[in-house]
């Protein structure tokens, strides 16, 4: 595995390999020193064209825990501001002997574009509305850790499906394991042909009832201006995970959210604090998964020994 660009093309076996390795990596995270030599001598660069705290920090910590030399390029202060093209940035990073580039960009396909034009490994940390593979992998890791399996489950994804790279990666990844996937959100945020990949529920109640897992998505508030949603208040009432809807969700159903959370818009503080909410756990698991991915992308054989 040279690159991790998305889960749509990744095989079931590769996903299992990553999740198994992440389990080992999590034991390292639990240790006092949190340091392994796996990436010693490797140069890992993060290039984020969008703001991010958790994903970027998670990747950086993962690389650092594995002894990589890490560099973080801030687009706001880089030569991008001088008009340098992405292709030129890629060529510069190549000349700077980058081994792994972790990239986030607002445009779908940018990691694929970079991978076509470079010799180093590329990890997609979120591209436009396309994919966020490590987020889905950490979601799958969390589900497996909590429920003991990621197969044959009933999973609901709620919210902005149209713009969500998290939703897409989760759908591609979870679909490989015989899971029943249901989506729900305002009609303006349900993309065409999604019914080819998931059941589209007709109400929030229907969407969440009887599910093993409910993945709630972040809503971008600027969508209101573009006519996708009407107001935060209305969204919360009809599409939010609040106390009312919890009547339809059992105590054993996992409540997940990729964060950062808009409290009182897509989910209430009370729901976030329920014992079946995994939101904080997902963040920790993210480091383990990213350690596994970094390891596999830097090994020619791609197999953890």
């Amino acid at each position: 595995m040279k690159h991790l660009l998305g889960l749509r093309e990744l095989s079931k076996e590769d996903i299992i390999k990553i999740l198994n390795l992440a389990k080992d990596m999590k034991t390292i995270l639990k240790s006092e020193t949190k340091k392994t030599p796996h990436l010693q001598g490797y140069s890992v660069v993060t290039l984020f064209y969008e703001n991010s705290t958790r994903t970027r920090t998670s990747f950086e910590l993962a690389a650092k825990f594995m002894s990589a030399n890490t560099t973080s390029i801030s687009v706001q202060t880089s030569s991008v501001q001088k008009g340098e093209s992405l292709l030129d940035t890629v060529k510069t990073l190549e000349a700077l002997k980058t081994d792994v580039l972790i990239v986030r960009h607002s445009v779908s396909g940018v990691p694929h574009f970079i991978a076509k034009n470079c010799s180093f490994s590329v990890i997609n940390a979120g591209d436009g509305m396309n994919e966020h593979p490590t987020q889905a992998l950490l979601d799958m890791f969390t589900i497996r850790e909590r429920l003991g399996t990621i197969e044959r489950l009933k999973i609901a994804i709620i919210g902005d499906i149209l713009h969500s790279r998290v939703a897409r990666s989760n759908i591609w990844g979870l679909s490989k394991f015989d899971n029943q996937i249901t989506v729900f959100g305002p009609q303006t945020l349900i993309p065409p042909y999604i019914e080819n990949f998931a059941y589209v529920a007709s109400s929030l109640e229907e969407a969440v009832s009887g599910k093993d897992v409910v993945i709630d998505l972040r809503i971008q508030l600027e969508r209101q201006k573009r006519g996708f949603i009407t107001s935060k208040q209305e969204y919360y009432k009809f599409y939010g995970l609040n106390e009312d809807i919890m009547r339809y969700i059992s105590g054993s159903t996992l409540i997940m959210h990729p964060g950062p959370v808009n409290r009182g818009v897509e989910i209430s503080s009370e729901v976030m604090q329920l014992p079946n909410s995994t939101i904080d756990e997902q963040v920790t698991n993210g480091i383990a998964v990213r350690m596994a991915v970094l390891y596999l992308c830097t090994r020619k054989e791609g197999i953890y020994r």
């Binding site: 960009h105 779908s108 574009f113 065409p192």
Partner: protein
């Protein structure tokens, strides 16, 4: 003198294909007959055994990028590329820099074409000044100078009142209005067709209604004004349906589609292939079939290439930044043959109508068939030759073909224009 031996002549779907020799003297076809006497001393003899000879093609919609974007293409390079594809009359769109929106610009294009182009280049003037969609350009002056149509191609005239006035005004000058149908509010920010592939890739989708809503609007305006509306690069089944209804109503509407819309679908974009980023976007198999049916029934009158050259630096970028468009001159005939004749049973004569008779009719030119006394403007094609589209074989300055890597059947081997052999056995001679 040129003698083409054993030519299988295809003039149109209505004429019987005739096998004969063609004698060309100066710029005209002197004689068509069986076993015309050879005289090697003062004759170039071309053996066309097993080949087809047909009138050279006319393209009513292309981009030559001069002035302003000569790094992509210019009148000379674009004309040579057109010639390589069998086109000897091409109409270039006005979205240059500065735009072709006044008589001086029309004169400039004609002058430059006369200087550097081996074929006939006919300029299309803008509908509105600066392609701004706000104020009508001097349509009368442009027509007087040689504009053959008006269009704000690349942009839609979003203001329905301006479009209505353009249609009304164009009637005084008997000039067709070529409409780029795209509701820019619906297409804003879109990269590809809104549908299965946009959902899969997360690329922003353009709903098909962005096209068909304006097709409907312009048809209604043409119905009211009785002007000649030409709808270009039709890409959706709804548009075909609307144009069919308009023709049944008796509206003066004609339409074209492009080789890529009748052969490829949105799936070409999978893998983020920027060469497949075109505007309007590639649609679905259903649309491809509707367009082919539209061509079969005569709802869509002709094929244009929408040859849209872009430098590789404008394509080898992030998908949203990539320029829209594919080059099209050099693959047009082969794509039509491969996808319409081979796969859909079209008569080869129908292809001649789509690439010669009908486009000429739309812009007011008479057909130039292969008959004695006519200008010797013809192509010799090998309908059996299979070839792969590769960058190395492309004549155009830009190499952004959506057909790169595709295997096509049939090839334009030889082109004769005004009695001169400008391409022979695949090699340009100009």
């Amino acid at each position: 003198m040129i003698l083409i031996k054993n030519a299988q002549i295809v003039n149109s779907i209505h004429d019987k294909n005739e096998k004969a020799d063609i004698l060309i003297v100066d710029d005209k076809i002197e004689k068509i007959g069986i076993n015309i006497e050879e005289n090697p001393d003062n004759m170039i003899i071309i053996d066309a055994s097993g080949k087809y000879v047909m009138p050279s093609f006319t393209d009513i919609h292309c981009h030559l990028r001069e002035p302003g974007f000569e790094y992509k293409e210019d009148i000379k390079s674009g004309s040579r590329a057109a010639l390589a594809g069998g086109f000897t009359t091409i109409c270039c769109m006005p979205n240059t820099n500065p735009p072709i929106d006044n008589r001086a610009m029309i004169a400039y294009i004609k002058y430059r074409a006369k200087e550097v182009s081996p074929i006939e280049v006919l300029p299309v003037g803008a509908i509105t000044k600066g392609l701004s969609g706000e104020e009508l350009a001097e349509i009368g002056f442009m027509k007087e100078e040689g504009a053959i149509a008006i269009s704000d191609d690349g942009k839609c005239v979003m203001n329905a009142n301006i479009m209505r006035n353009a249609l009304l005004y164009s009637k005084d000058f008997s000039i067709p209005v070529i409409s780029h149908c795209e509701d820019s509010n619906l297409s804003e920010g879109g990269q590809i067709n809104l549908g299965y592939v946009s959902t899969i890739t997360g690329l922003r989708g353009i709903p098909r209604e962005a096209e068909s809503i304006i097709v409907a609007r312009d048809i209604l305006l043409a119905k009211e004004t009785k002007a000649h509306l030409h709808i270009t690069h039709v890409s959706t089944k709804e548009s075909v349906r609307l144009i069919k209804i308009a023709k049944e109503w008796g509206v003066n509407v004609t339409a074209d589609t492009c080789p890529h819309y009748i052969s490829l679908t949105e799936e070409e974009v999978l893998g983020f292939n920027t060469n497949a980023k075109v505007n309007p976007p590639l649609r679905t198999q259903e649309d491809v079939e509707a367009l082919i049916e539209g061509l079969k029934e005569g709802v869509i009158d002709c094929i244009s290439t929408d040859h849209a050259p872009h430098h590789k630096d404008e394509k080898n970028v992030e998908f949203n930044l990539a320029a829209s468009g594919t080059i099209g001159f050099e693959t047009a005939f082969s794509v039509l043959f491969t996808y319409l004749v081979e796969k859909n049973g079209f008569d080869i004569g129908k292809i001649v109508e789509l690439l010669h008779h009908n486009p000429r009719k739309i812009i007011g030119l008479s057909p130039n068939v292969i008959k004695e006394g006519k200008k010797a403007n013809l192509v010799i094609v090998d309908l059996k030759k299979k070839w792969e589209v590769k960058e190395d074989n492309i004549v155009s300055k830009s190499k952004n073909s959506v057909f790169l890597g595709k295997l096509l059947t049939s090839y334009v081997e030889t082109v004769i224009y005004n009695g001169k052999i400008l391409k022979k056995d695949g090699v340009l001679n100009c």
